[in-house]
């Protein structure tokens, strides 16, 4: 190895000084670097290797998962039959009240190839991209709730920013009361999801469920997001600070569904 890098102490000091200077430069001006294209190249390069590594994990858990999914499928089929009747009734009532038709979410199943972030994942590489009809801004969900949003597209792959990203924000409403707020990730004093901007005049209770609100321009309305676990006040003391447990298990993401965001739905005929 000494052939490429000179072994002399002075030279190694110069080298480390160069790396440190570059690191500091990136820390101050890194936002100007086109990171998305670099991540795209990296994701494309790593995708085949990710598939190989994940194949072993999938095989290991396939048997147990298959049994659990069959049980769940049976339960859902029974529930689906009951709900179909309610859909007809709901549609008839909406027609009588002259309310607009509710759009159904078209979901596309994709595989999670890699997760970014420690200890909690903040982004995920997905196995579908532009070629598969995924668009920037599409919502990413699991069977239990919202996971995040597609923020970068690389052709055959895409990258989703999860709820736990420091820059993520989701307009939410409390399911039963319609109280509005914005869900954000807070790292201080410990990492957690907080529903912010809720005035003290609005009553929120522990255990209530949050859904994406109709005011969100980023997510379709009505996707489950999480449940209220703790109530408090924010640092300013002017609004509530409500701790939320996400419905989706962000630590065990294997497969997710991509749902067209409001922008994609608006562009549909």
């Amino acid at each position: 190895m000494g052939g490429l890098l000179p072994p002399a102490e002075r030279r190694s000091s110069v080298l480390v000084a160069l790396y440190v200077a570059l690191s500091l430069l990136l820390l101050t001006m890194g936002d100007r670097v086109p990171q998305a294209s670099l991540r795209g190249a990296g994701a494309t390069l790593f995708a085949p290797l990710d598939h190989v590594v994940l194949a072993a994990d999938r095989l290991w858990s396939a048997s147990g998962e298959n049994r659990a999914l069959h049980e769940r499928l049976t339960g859902l089929e029974l529930e689906n039959a009951r709900l179909r009747g309610l859909v007809v009734e709901n549609q008839r009532l909406r027609d009588e009240l002259d309310l607009p038709a509710v759009r159904e979410h078209r979901m596309k199943a994709v595989e999670v190839l890699a997760l970014t972030g420690e200890p909690y994942p903040a982004a995920a590489t997905l196995s579908a991209g532009r070629r598969h009809g995924v668009r920037e801004g599409d919502a990413v969900v699991t069977s239990t709730g919202l996971v995040g949003r597609v923020t970068e597209i690389y052709g055959g792959l895409s990258r989703a920013t999860l709820l736990t990203d420091p820059n993520a924000a989701v307009a939410c409403e409390v399911e039963s009361t319609g109280v509005l707020g914005v869900l954000r990730f807070a790292a201080v004093p410990s990492p957690r999801l907080l529903l912010t901007g809720v005035p003290f005049s609005d009553t929120v209770q522990v255990g209530q469920r949050l859904l994406t609100s109709g005011y969100s321009r980023r997510y379709p309305r009505g996707i489950p997001v999480g449940r209220v676990t703790r109530l408090g006040r924010d640092a300013s003391g002017l609004t509530q600070s409500i701790e939320v447990q996400p419905e989706a298990r962000l630590s065990r993401l294997r497969h997710v569904f991509v749902v067209p965001g409001p922008g994609s739905l608006e562009s549909q005929p």
């Binding site: 190895m1 490429l4 570059l22 200890p119 994942p121 820059n167 201080v188």
Partner: protein
């Protein structure tokens, strides 16, 4: 050229493990800091220049992957790679005690420095210390065990001779 290929292979293996198998552990609170482990190993094996180069390269990849604060991992891992490369010649690198202490120290420093960016300072210092300690407590024995297993597998020391500086005795 051989060294560069080895470095690239090392980078790919570490990044692949980090984004797949180890991310599942991390989400359950078991953070095995493979970036630090690999940098310390590389520095102990190849000396300060390669240690710093490996630390910078893998740190930069981790920064690009994370998408926030480009340069934070690169800066800390460069300095750790250089530091451990410099002291490599003065250590019994095959000693489990040395390895566990080095990995503990390196992981704690790396975690504390990088997490402080996420917290925006030292306001959440209790969480910062706790998270860094947990990562160091997990990474140090796991890393030492891996080095021991590697040594047993290949039948001799994992660490060759660190390039000796001219005029400097080991």
């Amino acid at each position: 050229m051989k060294g560069l290929v080895a470095l690239l292979v090392g980078l790919v293996v570490v990044l692949l493990l980090r984004s797949t198998a180890l991310s599942a552990f991390a989400a359950r609170g078991i953070v095995i800091d493979i970036l630090t482990f690999a940098t310390v190993f590389w520095a102990l094996r190849h000396g300060p220049s390669w240690g710093a180069t490996f630390g910078f390269a893998i740190g930069l990849c981790a920064d690009v992957d994370a998408g926030h604060w480009l340069g934070r991992h690169a800066l800390v891992l460069t300095l750790l790679g250089y530091f451990f490369g410099r002291i490599a010649a003065t250590l019994v690198r095959d000693s489990a005690r040395s390895q566990i202490v080095l990995l503990f120290f390196a992981t704690f420093v790396h975690q504390a420095a990088t997490v402080s960016f996420e917290l925006g300072g030292l306001t959440g210092w209790a969480y910062l210390v706790m998270r860094s300690l947990v990562a160091a407590i997990v990474t140090a024995p796991v890393g030492t065990l891996l080095l021991w297993a590697g040594r047993r597998m290949i039948g001799h020391s994992l660490f060759g001779n660190v390039p000796v500086q001219p005029g400097k005795a080991l």
